[in-house]
Symmetry: C2
Subunit: 359 residues, 2 copies
C-alpha cells in the first residue's frame, strides 16, 4: 500500500529500468517488415514502453493528464505579463473544457484532472470522480516570494511531492496506463528557471526567458528576482527538496511527485515543457533513476528548456515552438507514442508477410 508512504520509502522503491524487456522488444522490432529500425525514434519509444510495462504488448490506451495549479508570491516582483488572477480563471477554464489542454487532450483521448496545489482563490471541488475533475490539495494560498526568502517550508515542499505521488498513484490504480504532467500558475517560469539554474548550473542569461511574454524590463526584473532568490536562499543543488522549498512552487512539487509515482509503479510519465521539466529536475535530484520512466513530450520555445533536457539526458519527441504549458506538449506527444505502439503491435514480421529480408 502507498496510502501513507513517506518520501524516503518512495525513493527506496525506485530502481532503474530492467533492460531485459527492452532487449526482447528490440528483437521484435528487428523482425518487422521494414528496413532495420526505419521508423527511428518510434522504435525507441515502443521499446522503452515495453521495458516499463514489462510486456511485448505495450498499451497506452488509457491516458490522463494531471494539471497542477499553484500561485507564486514572486509575481509581486513584476516577473509576469499577466495578473495573478489569471491562475484561478484558467483553472475554471480547464474545468469548462475550454483551454488548450482540453482541446489537445480530447484529440489524443486523454482525461484531464486539475489539481489546486496552492492557488490563491478558494474554488469548489469534489473528490476524484468522473463529473468534477478539480481536486483540492491546497498547501497554501500561493508561495512566498522566492526573491525575499524561502518560497515555502521544507515540510510543505515534501507534502507537495507526496500529494503528487498519491494523485498519480490513484490514477494508476484506476487503470491509467500513461500519465502526462501539466501546470498552471502565473509567474511559474520564474521558480522553474531558478530550479533550472541551480540544478543544471546554467547561467541565468541562458536559463531565463520571457515566459508568457514579459517585455525587456520584465525580463530584467525576472533575472534580478531569481539572482536575489538564489543569493538569499542558497539552495543546495544536490538536495532536491531544499531547491524546491527555497525557489520552487507547489505545482512543481506536485509534478515531481507524479514523476516519482511513475518510476515507483513502473508506469510511463510524459512531461510537458519548462515547468514540468523543472519538476523532473527536482525528482531527478532526489532519485536519478526516474529518467528511465520519463518521456519528454516536446522542446519548449522557452530558451532554458533545452539545457534542462540535456541535464536529464532526455530527447524531446516534438519541437513545434510551443510554450503554453498546461501539459499541452506532453498530451500532444502521447499521440506519437501511441503510433509507436500501433506499429510495434500491428506491423507484420518479414516471415508473416512473406517478404524477403535484406539478408
Amino acid at each position: 500500500m502507498t496510502n501513507n508512504i513517506g518520501l524516503e520509502e518512495i525513493l527506496k522503491g525506485i530502481g532503474p529500468l530492467d533492460g531485459e524487456w527492452i532487449e526482447k522488444a528490440k528483437e521484435r522490432t528487428a523482425q518487422l517488415v521494414m528496413p532495420a529500425r526505419a521508423l527511428g525514434r518510434l522504435h525507441e519509444i515502443s521499446e522503452r514502453l515495453c521495458g516499463i510495462q514489462k510486456t511485448l504488448k505495450p498499451s497506452i490506451n488509457h491516458k490522463a493528464i494531471l494539471v497542477m495549479a499553484g500561485d507564486h508570491g514572486v509575481v509581486d516582483e513584476g516577473v509576469s505579463a499577466y495578473p495573478q488572477e489569471v491562475t484561478g480563471a484558467m483553472v475554471q477554464t480547464f474545468l469548462r473544457g475550454g483551454a488548450g489542454i482540453n482541446a489537445i487532450s480530447r484529440h489524443v483521448g486523454a482525461e484531464v484532472w486539475v489539481v489546486d496545489m496552492g492557488i490563491i482563490p478558494e474554488l469548489k471541488s469534489d473528490e476524484l470522480d468522473e463529473r468534477n475533475r478539480l481536486l483540492i490539495r491546497k498547501l497554501a494560498r500561493g508561495t512566498s516570494s522566492l526573491a525575499k526568502g524561502p518560497a515555502t517550508t521544507r515540510k510543505a515542499a515534501e507534502e507537495a511531492i507526496i500529494t503528487g505521488f498519491q494523485l498519480a498513484t490513484d490514477l494508476f490504480r484506476k487503470g491509467v496506463e500513461i500519465l502526462g504532467t501539466g501546470d498552471m500558475g502565473i509567474g511559474n517560469t520564474t521558480p522553474s528557471a531558478a530550479i533550472g539554474a541551480v540544478i543544471t548550473g546554467t547561467g541565468l542569461d541562458k536559463m531565463v526567458g520571457r515566459g508568457t511574454g514579459v517585455d525587456d524590463e520584465g525580463l530584467e526584473k525576472k533575472k534580478e528576482a531569481i539572482q536575489q532568490g538564489i543569493e538569499i536562499n542558497q539552495p543546495n543543488s544536490k538536495d532536491g527538496l531544499d531547491v524546491l522549498s527555497k525557489v520552487g512552487g507547489f505545482e512543481i512539487g506536485g509534478i515531481a511527485g507524479c514523476i516519482l509515482a511513475g518510476a515507483y509503479h513502473s508506469r510511463p510519465v510524459v512531461i510537458d515543457g519548462f515547468i514540468s521539466t523543472a519538476g523532473a529536475l527536482v525528482a531527478h535530484a532526489l532519485c536519478p533513476a526516474v529518467t528511465d520512466y520519463i518521456f519528454a513530450g516536446h522542446c519548449s520555445e522557452e530558451p532554458g528548456h533545452r539545457a534542462m533536457l540535456e541535464h536529464l539526458v532526455l530527447e524531446p519527441i516534438l519541437d513545434l515552438g510551443m510554450r503554453l504549458g498546461e501539459g499541452t506538449g506532453g498530451a500532444l506527444a502521447m499521440t506519437i507514442m501511441e503510433a509507436a505502439v500501433w506499429v510495434f503491435n500491428n506491423v507484420l514480421t518479414f516471415e508473416e508477410a512473406g517478404v524477403a529480408d535484406k539478408d
Copy 2:
C-alpha cells in the same frame, strides 16, 4: 470537370493561396485564451488550413493516403539493399493491412489506397471502392535504368502526373479533406536523389544516402549511377517533366500529380519523406505556387531530405529519425495537424472564458 484535363490546363488552374483567410484566422488565434501564439507551429498549421479551405472552421477529419508504387530499372546497377521482388511483396502487405503505413494510418484515422503506377508484377485489382484498395494504373513494368538512358519517355512521365492528379481528384470528390502522399519502390531513393541533385543543385555527396540501408560499396554504386545518369541524360533542371522522365520514376510522377491536384482543388496535401519530396520538387518545378498547399510531414533520416525541403521553403512538422517512406511520416503528421485544428476550433476566447488578457 477534370476528367480529361491536360497538364497545361492544370498548371493554369493553380494560383497562390489567398492571404485573406489566413489573416482572418490569425485574428481568431489572437483571441484564444492563451499567451500570444503560445502553441507555435500549431497556429501556423491551422491558419494555413483556413487559407486553403477558405473557412474559419477548418476540418481534416476525412483523411486519405495514396501510396504510389513503382519499380526501377536502376536497381540492376546494385543501388539497393533489397531485391526488386520486395516492391510487389510490400504492395501485397499494404493490401493485407500489415505494413507501417497501415498501422500509422489506422491510428490517425486515414484511409490507405495503394496504386500500381508501374511495378513489375501483375497484381489483381478492382476500381476505386471500399473493399479493394489496389488501383492499377500501370504505365510500364518498371522504368529503364536512368544510368543508361532516360528512365521513361516524356509522354509516360506526363501520364504519371496526370494519373496522380486524377486519383487525388477522385478522392477529393469523395470528400477527402486532406491527402497524404506515400511511395513504395525498391531502388527509389536513387531517382529521388537524382531529382534532388538536379533541381536543388546540391552535390551528390550531400544528396545521396543509404536508402533502405546499402553498404559503403552500394553507396558508391548509387552515386556513380546517378552521376552517370545525369551526364548521359542532361536533364533540364527548369523543366520538371524533363527531369522526371530522364531520372525519375512512375510513382514519383504520381506523387507530383497528387500535389498538383491539391493545389488545383485547393486542398491540403501532406508529403512524406525523401521520395514524396522528390515528387514535390517536380511539381514545384512545374508550378512554384504548389508549396502553399503542401505540408511537410517530417524530416527524413535520409541526408539529402533537408536540402530538398529548404529548396521548397517547407519546415517539417516532425523530426523523428524516420526513413521508411510508404507515407508514414505524412500520415503521422496528420495527427499533429488535427490537434492544431482542435485547438483552433475549440479553445475559448479570452472573452468567452472571462479571463483578463495581457493588455
